[in-house]
């Protein structure tokens, strides 16, 4: 028998499923080699720009009659009119997968590989009115649609789990709407992360567990949390359920572009613990040799591993012996969770030894190379003074964690508290707190205020720099970090957050090339004076003073609730030509056909036609700036 090669890995290095650490495989998108052949509507291109203002139905002939999505087609027929300019322009190159279908060339795209359990990440960009979908295993669709500004998203909006169109009662599946609409405006890149668990089948091929979206994130916001999909959704590659199938992207309903497609395939194994014997000793000891000869307080055999054994209190050692039974030779991954300390030997060699005294919630991952069949193991779990609950769990983590222990050994726990959400009612809701910019604790902003709009458009404003720092739609705030227990003074936006920039946006500059200062609360130059509440709207109007000028800053959503307009008004003094406004900052700021600007293809800035703004480069960053000439200036932020 080949001696198993044992390899202990640290948590951070391991392919931990729910973290960011999984080793993702990229689809290079240098060509279409990762996909099955198709009619030609799919291509690899360099750069794609999409005019957000042009609806595809204004240039596209009505799609042909098809069995699925009849309703949508009907709507699009109504909207269709004479052909005009396509909203999509692209350049030759690589890195972007683009679908440009027409009435006849409109194949779906299938991966050349098949998958079961998978983690999938991608970025997607669509024009106004377009429609596509990502089918896991070619059978379970996460819908892609231009759902910008939709208040109450449905199963058919972006991120929705699509329905099917079966008529037979037991085959109907009505889909599931996303938890929230995290959609961005057309023409912007949107990120999607899907954790999918394939259906499970018994030996005779009967399905025993449904397919499951473990989670789906759109633009960083969770839109599905651990939901089953009991049946294939509409338009599957084949109307059945199988352990493995290809990834499919819908290509018959309008242009769609993808980039940065990355995935990690996982396969659950049937590795198990067998022939389990245990011995309980009265005191904690990590010394295996002495335990082997000591007489235990109790002992016996087990069907399932558990630490919930008679005589196990605060100060004890449990010695488990048994076999790891692997279906075939290979690397197997495990996770152990424990309160206390553990020692794992596999086939006589140490695989894991955790001796830290204070493992309140210890967690270790280990990868074991096992031969087919049974490999003996010894697991020691021991614990002394810290009188924490006795908890020991062991999971097989080749794919989503599968418990190898009895539930009593590692029972589910109640969370400490429910979340404390701050909702917006019929008036704007304001709340000050710390904000971790881009979610980073080391970028914590200390003088920020969240402003929630009744129309569902929200932003955070930095009172030290006098500028909006991030915007989002949907629910308002999670204040649990601030208000639970002692709290840490911070809140978190609840939604797909578009970060803008954290520094000042209005400053006196010595020349048009001068950089903006890092902060503005230098004495004399700038003084925040808080805000007033606008009586008509209930919205805050921020007030500050700058070298004798008084400025009011009013950020307000439009009626549709899909963009914010910021108006700066000089109520005392006039801009003297040295007062500059920074509207945006990013790696690439480009002009759009309608005169607006797109920042890193993440958000748009729209400026009134009669205003002049320029793109300049400072410290390798592009900035959209303008000297202020009149007593009032406004622009819109669209995302």
């Amino acid at each position: 028998m080949k001696k198993p090669y044992l390899m202990a890995t640290l948590l951070l290095l391991s392919p931990y499923l729910f973290g960011q650490e999984a080793p993702m495989e990229s689809m290079p998108l240098n060509d279409l080699s990762g996909f099955q052949s198709q009619a030609g509507n799919w291509m690899i291109v360099g750069e794609v720009t999409i005019d957000p203002t042009t609806d595809i139905h204004h240039q596209e002939a009505p799609p042909e009659e098809s069995s699925r999505k009849k309703r949508k087609k009907k709507q699009s027929s109504e909207a269709s009119s004479a052909a005009s300019q396509s909203p999509v322009t692209y350049e030759a190159g690589t890195g972007i997968l683009l679908n440009m279908n027409d009435e006849t060339t409109k194949d779906n795209l299938l991966s050349s590989w098949e998958h079961g359990d998978i983690l999938l990440e991608l970025e997607v960009m669509m024009p106004k009115g377009s429609n596509s979908g990502i089918y896991l295993q070619g059978r379970y669709e996460i819908q892609l649609l231009d759902s910008w500004g939709v208040k109450h998203p449905k199963y058919g909006d972006i991120g929705g789990i699509y329905r099917n169109w079966e008529t037979q009662k037991e085959k109907i599946y009505l889909g599931k709407a996303p938890l929230t609409n995290a959609a961005k405006a057309p023409g912007l890149w949107q990120t999607m992360k899907i954790a999918f668990r394939a259906p499970r089948f018994d030996a005779s091929g009967n399905k025993i567990e449904n397919a499951r979206f473990v989670y789906v994130d759109l633009n960083g916001e969770r839109i599905h949390e651990n939901v089953e999909v009991p049946l294939p959704t509409g338009g599957p590659v084949e109307n059945n359920e199988v352990p493995r199938g290809p990834l499919m992207i819908q290509g018959d309903h309008g242009p769609v572009a993808f980039r940065n497609i990355r995935y990690h395939q996982m396969e659950e194994t049937s590795v198990s613990l067998t022939d389990l014997q245990y011995k309980v000793f009265d005191n904690a000891s990590g010394k295996l040799d002495s335990l082997m000869n000591a007489s235990p307080a109790s002992e016996g055999s087990l069907d399932q591993l558990t630490a919930a054994l008679p005589g196990v209190l605060d100060n004890f050692t449990i010695l488990y012996q048994g076999a790891l039974e692997a279906p075939e030779a290979g690397d197997y991954q495990f996770r152990l969770n424990y309160m206390g300390r553990i020692l794992l030997q596999v086939d006589g060699e140490e695989a894991l030894a955790v001796n830290n005294y204070d493992n309140y919630r210890g967690e270790s991952e280990v990868t074991l190379s096992l031969p087919a069949g049974k490999t003996p193991f010894t697991l020691v779990y021991y614990k002394e003074t810290p009188p924490w609950p006795v908890r020991l769990g062991i999971f097989s983590t080749d794919s989503y964690p599968r418990a190898l222990h009895q539930i009593s050994s590692f029972p589910p726990e109640s969370p400490e508290t429910g979340p404390i959400y701050v909702n917006v009612q019929d008036e704007p809701r304001l709340l000050r707190a710390f904000l971790d910019y881009e979610g980073q604790r080391d970028q914590r902003l200390t003088h920020t205020i969240g402003v929630g709009g009744p129309s569902g458009v929200h932003y955070v404003y930095n009172l030290i720099t006098g500028s909006p720092v991030c915007v989002w739609r949907g629910e308002f705030l999670n204040a649990t970090p601030m208000w639970h227990q002692r709290g840490d003074g911070s809140f978190r936006p609840r939604g797909a957050v578009q970060h803008l920039f954290a520094g000042p946006s209005l400053a006196q500059l010595s020349s048009s090339n001068a950089a903006f200062p890092a902060t503005l609360n230098e004495p004399g130059a700038w003084k925040g004076q808080g805000y007033r509440i606008d009586e008509a709207t209930g919205e805050p109007v921020f007030i500050y003073q700058m070298d004798g000028q008084m400025v009011e800053d009013h950020v307000t959503p439009n009626a549709e609730g899909n963009l914010l307009t910021r108006t700066l008004t000089f109520t005392e003094g006039n801009p003297d030509g040295k007062t500059y406004l920074k509207l945006a900052q990013g790696d690439h700021i480009e002009t759009m056909p309608d005169g607006s600007y797109v920042v890193d293809q993440q958000y748009y800035i729209r400026v009134p036609a009669d205003e002049q703004v320029t793109v300049r480069t400072v410290d390798q960053q592009q900035e959209l700036v303008t000297p202020l000439q009149s007593s009032s200036f406004e622009y819109s932020i669209i995302w």
């Binding site: 605060d314 200390t446 030290i464 002692r486 003084k527 805000y531 007033r532 509440i533």
Partner: protein, 650 residues
């Protein structure tokens, strides 16, 4: 229930024996007979974690909450049983921990700024949130800001907590200017640094136009207390000294100068900082008064509030300034406590130009931590409560209560004043002379706290007070107590457990006074000819029984028959109180620390429990926010009895 028992025992002067000298068969008076707590109802879902509170000129009460709201409440006295009404005046503030009123506006300290709130359109809701002054923050959770309080010149005082270290999570740090400082801010937004040395200056008060603040036990703070903060003073926590060199700083002591003389206790072992711990049997510990001789900026607390006895996290300070409306203590101070959910009473006097004075227990059993207090126009005291994650006595995490004087005068020590040779105790009503002229009616000790980088301090240099004689005044309302061993700077605990009221015969409601003797006054000593030196025999002097038994607590002779059995609750209760265990622990309910019952479940040996009393291991209790401080001052035999009792709760 446990709290009730506790309060009952306090009331009894640490005693629960049947042979009480007064009113056989009647219940002894309790705090409730004199000061009644009324809880104000709130609409369902409204959480009043009170951070600031002020009475408006029209009698309404305004309060700010942790959730960022300012509520204005009318009909707080609930006239004829009608409900109070709440109007949201402002919202969205960042954990405001203060509230003041001036000229039709409210002023509030948010975490990062002083804000003026005004209602300009008359709808009862603020529509102008004006930044008066903004100060920097690092974003650490502990950087709370408190205030403002108006000084007579219409400037405002705001104070700021320190942050804590990342690796040195135990060490208070001032990461950005003016953390650990008090700031004086004009209504126009000019800021002048006022003083430093603050660690957690949650309780601020203006007394006779002077700025006072209450501090909590912590690193460099052996115990809580209240300080008179003159401009430029340094109250003890060195973190804020980092900014003493900044422009405008009135403090001329730098961190370098300080640490050149005082050990920072910053030690690395194996590349990691080691948390400084109390040094047991330290031969020459530093005391704050000694450090003051080196650094005259150091301000001693006017009154120590001994940790665990008179609170564990002192808060708001208010003056009783409504004449007779609140009982017999006009002109004295009340100090709240968050952890123990109670209020203490303080009487100050000026000796040799400095404030010092005496502190007593006053009223316990609020439903949550007492953070803020304000006087109602009806003469009652409104108490704003929260424990915000630190745990507190009482059944709730927050609330608003009202304390009403019932009109009955409690039999209390009204004041204790220092004399060149002891103290004069004034009573609220005449004492029974026979009881007061018995030296066995009195007892006490003096002690002090260490000044070191360690979290808290045990009481050290303890010494029993040697009471040489007493003189009771003609009217029976005061007693001069001559003490042989007064010690300047020390905290003098003086009990009058044996004294009875002339009328009714009951004991003093709160029979223990804590006098901080920063200065011993000059003047005439009492001639020996005027003293009474009689000591009753315990066996035949029933009036002294309380005192005798209380003292016996420390040296109960072991009953040979009971030595192996676990002590009873009645036996152990006085020990728990005396050793301040009850400051944080209850028998069967989690408070600041775990219930004794939960400790029992850990199945420690009694010896192990004793060891843990002296060297606690807070890491064993990760679900508790406040770490237990080592308690080396607990006598070993007490600790062992407590341990045996704890284990009997299994």
């Amino acid at each position: 229930m446990y709290q009730k028992i506790l309060s009952f025992l306090y009331t009894l002067g640490l005693l629960a024996v049947p042979a009480l000298s007064w009113a056989q068969g009647e219940n002894p008076p309790t705090e409730d007979d004199y000061y009644r707590i009324v809880t104000l109802p709130t609409p369902e879902g409204m959480l009043l974690e009170v951070g600031g509170m002020v009475t408006l000129p029209d009698g309404r009460i305004a309060l700010s909450t942790r959730r960022g709201d300012v509520w204005v409440i009318e009909n707080t006295e609930m006239f004829e049983g009608s409900l109070p009404r709440y109007t949201r005046y402002a919202s969205g503030l960042h954990e405001p921990l203060g509230l003041a009123y001036r000229d039709q506006s409210l002023y509030v300290a948010q975490r990062g700024e002083l804000t003026k709130l005004s209602d300009t359109n008359g709808d009862g809701r603020a529509d102008r949130y004006e930044t008066i002054y903004q100060w920097p923050l690092s974003g650490h959770y502990h950087e709370y800001s408190y205030g403002p309080k108006f000084l007579p010149d219409s400037t405002m005082i705001v104070t700021g907590n320190v942050a804590f270290g990342d690796e040195e999570w135990w060490r208070g740090e001032s990461r950005v200017p003016w953390r650990g400082w008090s700031m004086q801010i004009t209504p126009e937004g000019e800021m002048h640094p006022w003083a430093t040395g603050m660690r957690s200056p949650c309780g601020i008060g203006i007394i006779d136009g002077e700025f006072f603040y209450a501090e909590n036990q912590g690193d460099w703070m052996g115990s809580g207390g209240i300080w008179h903060v003159t401009k430029g003073s340094f109250t003890g926590h060195p973190a804020g000294l980092s900014w003493a060199g900044e422009e405008g700083s009135p403090v001329d002591l730098t961190a370098e100068q300080f640490y050149a003389k005082i050990d920072k206790r910053q030690v690395k072992e194996n590349g990691r900082y080691v948390k400084p711990e109390n040094i047991e049997d330290e031969t020459d510990p530093t005391f704050l008064f000694e450090a003051q001789k080196e650094f005259p900026n150091i301000k001693l607390p006017a009154v120590w509030l001994p940790h665990g006895i008179l609170g564990i996290s002192n808060s708001e300070i208010v003056t009783i300034d409504n004449g007779e409306a609140f009982g017999p203590f006009n002109g004295q101070l009340l100090v709240g406590d968050q952890g123990q959910s109670k209020i203490m009473r303080v009487a100050l006097e000026k000796v040799k130009g400095e404030y010092q004075g005496v502190a007593f227990d006053f009223r316990a059993n609020f439903q949550s931590g007492v953070l803020r207090m304000t006087w109602g126009d009806d003469g009652s005291l409104y108490v704003g409560e929260t424990n915000r994650g630190w745990g507190s006595a009482g059944s709730e995490n927050s609330g608003l209560e009202r304390l009403v004087w019932t009109g009955a005068t409690p039999f209390e020590m009204k004041t204790v004043k220092a004399e060149p040779d002891g103290f004069t105790i004034a009573f609220t009503s005449p004492v029974d002379k026979a009881s007061a002229e018995d030296l066995n009616a009195y007892g006490g000790r003096s002690f002090i706290y260490k000044y070191h980088a360690v979290y808290g301090s045990p009481t050290v240099n303890e010494e029993a007070l040697k009471i040489k004689g007493v003189k009771v005044s003609e009217d029976g309302k005061s007693v001069r107590v001559v003490v042989d061993n007064l010690r300047q700077y020390y905290l003098h605990e003086l009990n009058v457990l044996g004294i009875k009221a002339a009328n009714g015969g009951q004991g003093v409601l709160h029979p223990v006074a804590y006098y901080t003797l920063n200065n011993i006054p000059e003047g005439e000593k009492l001639p020996q000819s005027e003293w009474v030196t009689r000591r009753s025999q315990p066996s035949n002097a029933q009036q002294a029984s309380r005192a005798i038994q209380a003292q016996a607590v420390t040296s109960t002779p072991d009953d040979p028959n009971a030595s192996s059995a676990a002590p009873t609750f009645a036996e152990i209760e006085p020990l728990l109180i005396k050793n301040t265990c009850t400051a944080c622990h209850q028998a069967d309910k989690r408070q600041v620390g775990p219930a004794f019952k939960d400790v029992a479940k850990r199945k420690y040996s009694p010896e192990k429990i004793v060891e843990l009393i002296y060297q606690p291991q807070p890491e064993n209790w990760p679900d508790y926010a406040t770490p237990m401080a080592p308690m080396p001052q607990v006598p070993k035999e007490d600790a062992m009895k407590i341990a045996q009792w704890i284990n009997s709760l299994r």
